[in-house]
Subunit: 363 residues, 4 copies
């Protein structure tokens, strides 16, 4: 239970980090959408470490295959199965973690929940590798949203305590594609890179904040009172391991504002109703208001560090000093940027279908 | 669509702020639970304004009735319908808002989404009054959780920029029941009350932060990869109007920490595996780890203020200066505390049933 | 669990036969549909016994109230709550059935499933009275289908072993409205009435077969491989107490046919693709093919009879001779006709929305 | 949409008849269940034609692979992916069917529903081959049910108009395993075989009736009012292509019985409450009553026949005389027997989990 997301555009994730494969089923994708392996591979490749500074040395080839639901390069309306075979696996390090749970990891909770039967190798279902199945679904969602002119974008706004200065959407779009830290503020990047290198030297890890943006979202997406746009976006984003906070628009800073400061004033601009500010992050009453959707997610520092950490042996209860081997990212923020985009795209796609903004057959 | 929450313990909300009633259907409640109208009324009463400082003058009598699913004072396993008739309604102020949307409100998005057919009176489905339907469901969820020793608790930790000092669970429990601002820090309360009064004088409004806590949650609740405990709690909490951010444990501050600081170390204490810190907020890999669940929600300042605000006439596109009459809270934080508890309780209840922690029949 | 039906047009049933009320929540009804209490009452009234021959003497006043989701006579897009208060209740007969289950009834299974906590009075959730909640939902579904020219129709084709001769749709529509047995074959009606009277004299009961028809259903409704049109119609129809069989088109008789006989040949008629026969009952591959949907349901004889029946005392295990008092129908076929229509309408409505044949807002 | 079945034990089917593979995802299978490829292959092999009389010549090797969710031979609680690669494909015959739909097939409805984008080769998603994905899921469901002593069994009770005499459960179990027509009545088998051969000579096809049985089902499975055991079993069974009718217990013949004949009398036997007859087919009020579940499904004659059939060209509207090549079964009843078992097993498994009869972790 719990491995499917969405109501009409339904993404199901399967596979394990060190198992045979990781895969995705997409149910409810309209028929008639041209889609190639390259469309999906392009997104998958964005998740690869683009700099040696921050990321693991595991060479993840990660070649996507389309196993069903696409015929002659076009979606058929049937479930789409996307698969990535696992390769270059070294599970030798993980045997001990089964009973000596790594601090900050799901080792302990997974062991308890699944009675010790979970595939713990490489973190199993709790590995960052599982986000590959999010990204492949995101690739298709983005293509669908594109049909309605909706664009999803994410960028690092904070890494290791270094905050990026606010930038315009065009600047963000352009710079994220180019620079390995996926940050639009050139000055901040330098300090961020230093923070990562410092953490690396210390055998430690750092976190950050990613901002997700959706442009040209029409008014009306979201299904309150429970399926609010904020609520379902947040749920999707919390599926990314390491996310511990989600806020929209002015978010937590709204708590310190007055109503007169935080309310966004409606005006007419170019014959369209817009707001002069966007403290609402594009969402009012759980429904998109036509302004850019703006969401920020807090990414905790990677739990796997190269320092001795205290933990216990679950079976004996004895104290254990754990030193992790294996290959671990120092900071996953840059790699998580495309994952944030994917979760936003997948969620918007579902709401677009619920609002009949996307047809059952694309003509 | 979107008015039901949960998979096994399913809460459906219906009714409008100025319609005939607001109501709740609870599907999936185990048979055999003793439940009285008083059990539910007690929770509903907690939502009533307990001080004249912060809240509306609308006298909400709000008497709950049980229409189905309970027989001889015990749940039957059939859907439970809880109803509150609407009284003391004054809709005169709202007619104009239909086409001159209030800044910060759902007036505009609701009008657009529902083609102008939505019941806009009193905010309709987007009114804070709808949270009554959350609270009644929460009352039943709390009783169920109580069978397993699980306790849900919430308190105001910030109002109008005034932050409360951290307090112990016992202190929180005790003080929240007593003081109208639902804050456990006596010193902060005074400053908070002043902030509210100041905003009131200015015809303005303020927001704050509520912290929710769940104690004695066993290891194993949560259904990753998508139905994480964080994700579904966040989704439930974003259903509360005015919530714009949700974070767990160290939350957004985790972004500034190192892995070695943020990881919680496992130890054995009283023959139980516990963590020495709780940066994870009681959740690892989307699954409860046995530590207290700790979640904080950002509450934006109330959108309805007594100041002239600019907006537009949707039909004509003309600029309008809007001055709201009617009765509005200056700060909803205190009243929202029990609503936060309700959403946490309802979500935990659903996960408890998914984990077969609660039986289908209580004996 | 199990009291909601549908994916986009979701009907939730609540209430008990001898409780306070029976009610329905309809989630997902498009905004903008004009609907009056009379629209719903008309359908409810069709379920009332229209002849003293076949039915109970319980005077069921059954006045429908609309509690939410309709504003100024038009649906708002919010959940619609329809309620019927229970009146004229005599529960005196039922106390003993709790532990001496009536043969053919749900007394025993309900007792076991709900640990004896179920409201057994009048059959509780298992009473035919619960079908009122289906009929009120059906009323709204019919109005929606009507927007697309889809008509749902049902009639008795067999009662107590007497089979009606096949009739045309116009004849069926006309005669069902007029005659109390809801059968289109005047000759058969006479024999049916006699069969009912005979059973009544004997203190016994009889069953029959109802045929449901949907006209002008466009090609394309149904979501295989699992959500087939047959499958979801069957599921909906089996929710009617007493239904023990469902077949489409040639149904069970197809088992005796050859492929060359059973295949329906496609031709062009009036520029439209139609089939020369309708052995498929309007459904191919789980999807409507543009021909009339034709489904037949087997209705078992009423379980409550006025004869001494053997049963046991659940607590003591002793044999008991049960003679039921209370008011019971001899044959529910005529009253069930509108219920069959309701379940077909509700199901088609859901599929129409899934196929985006019905908009989210009606203009 | 529509390719997933179940609420807690969720089966998702994907793949196309002449595509790369057919596959199944099983979500919600408890952790701790030992499962081997052989367990699943054994069921898959039962679906293979066991006689040259009735079935296609396509050599379906159909080797199952487990891609996820099983670790060291035991389920992990994660989604299980089962895959069968397609081989020996000859799609040459199918190109023309895209626009000249075969009578009785889904060619026309699929073309219309999916805008001509569906993978029509070999019937695509509408092929009998898709039932492989049901059978693999059924293999796991059977293993789970087995933990509770529940056995699912099916057999042919009618083929080409030849009806089998009623047999005891032991006889059915034994003979079905041995004889290629999966019928327990040796005499009937001979006549059935002749009927098949005759149809084959004529280039025609025949249908039949399969009876499904579930033994040792405890009282209490089923979730009325909508998720009745009959309703969900029927829905699952109608997913099998060619099923056009479903009845339980006395089924359609109940329509001709009196209440006093059709009611099953409760008695105590070996300290257990049982019924002296089983007209209810093991289900009262939509809930299992402890008696054997008995369901019969009508299988229409195979639509693909070797006779010239009239149809039309969808594009031009011209009349076409269609003579199908390719490999087709004359009667699918024997091969469908294991598919019926699978759908029953999958449905019971879901209800067993909803009733908490199966644990989340098997110890």
């Amino acid at each position: 239970m719990g491995n499917s997301l969405g109501k009409l555009f339904v993404v199901t994730s399967f596979g394990e980090s060190h198992g045979i494969c990781v895969g995705t089923i997409i149910e409810g994708c309209p028929a008639g959408l041209p889609i190639t392996v390259e469309d999906i591979q392009r997104e998958v490749d964005k998740r690869k470490p683009q700099t040696s500074i921050a990321a693991t040395q595991r060479i993840e080839e990660d070649k996507v295959e389309i196993l069903s639901g696409v015929f002659n390069g076009i979606t058929t309306g049937a479930p789409i199965c996307l698969l990535i075979w696992n390769k270059d696996i070294d599970s030798s390090e993980y045997e001990k973690m089964k009973i000596t749970p790594r601090p900050g990891h799901a080792d302990y909770t997974a062991f308890m929940k699944y009675g010790g039967f979970n595939d713990f190798r490489g973190g199993g279902r709790f590995s960052g590798r599982i986000t590959l199945t999010f990204v492949t679904a995101g690739a298709i969602a983005k293509k669908l949203l594109n049909l309605r002119g909706i664009e999803v974008l994410a960028h690092a706004v904070e890494i290791g305590g270094v905050k990026a200065k606010p930038k315009g959407f065009d600047e963000i779009r352009e710079s994220v594609g180019k620079n390995p830290l996926k940050c639009a503020d050139a000055e901040a990047i330098e300090a961020m890179a230093k923070a990562i290198e410092r953490a690396k030297e210390e055998g430690d890890s750092i976190g950050g904040v990613i901002e997700g943006i959706a442009l040209n979202v029409p008014v009306g997406l979201g299904e309150p009172v429970f399926d609010t746009l904020e609520g379902d976006l947040a749920k999707a984003l919390f599926a990314i391991p390491a996310v511990k906070g989600v806020e929209f628009g002015s978010g937590f800073s709204a708590a310190q504002k007055k109503g007169s400061e935080n309310n966004d004033v409606f005006i007419i601009k170019n014959d369209k109703i817009v707001a002069t500010t966007n403290n609402a992050g594009g969402i009012l009453g759980g429904i998109s208001n036509g302004m850019p959707i703006v969401v920020r997610v807090a990414i905790k520092p990677v739990s796997s560090i190269r320092k001795i950490q205290e933990t216990i042996d679950i079976k004996t209860g004895e104290k254990v000093n754990l030193l992790l081997g294996g290959r671990h990212d120092v900071c996953i923020v840059p790699r998580a940027v495309v994952v944030v985009e994917a979760m936003i795209a997948v969620t918007l796609c579902d709401f677009a279908m619920r609002a009949e903004l996307l047809p059952r057959v694309i003509k």
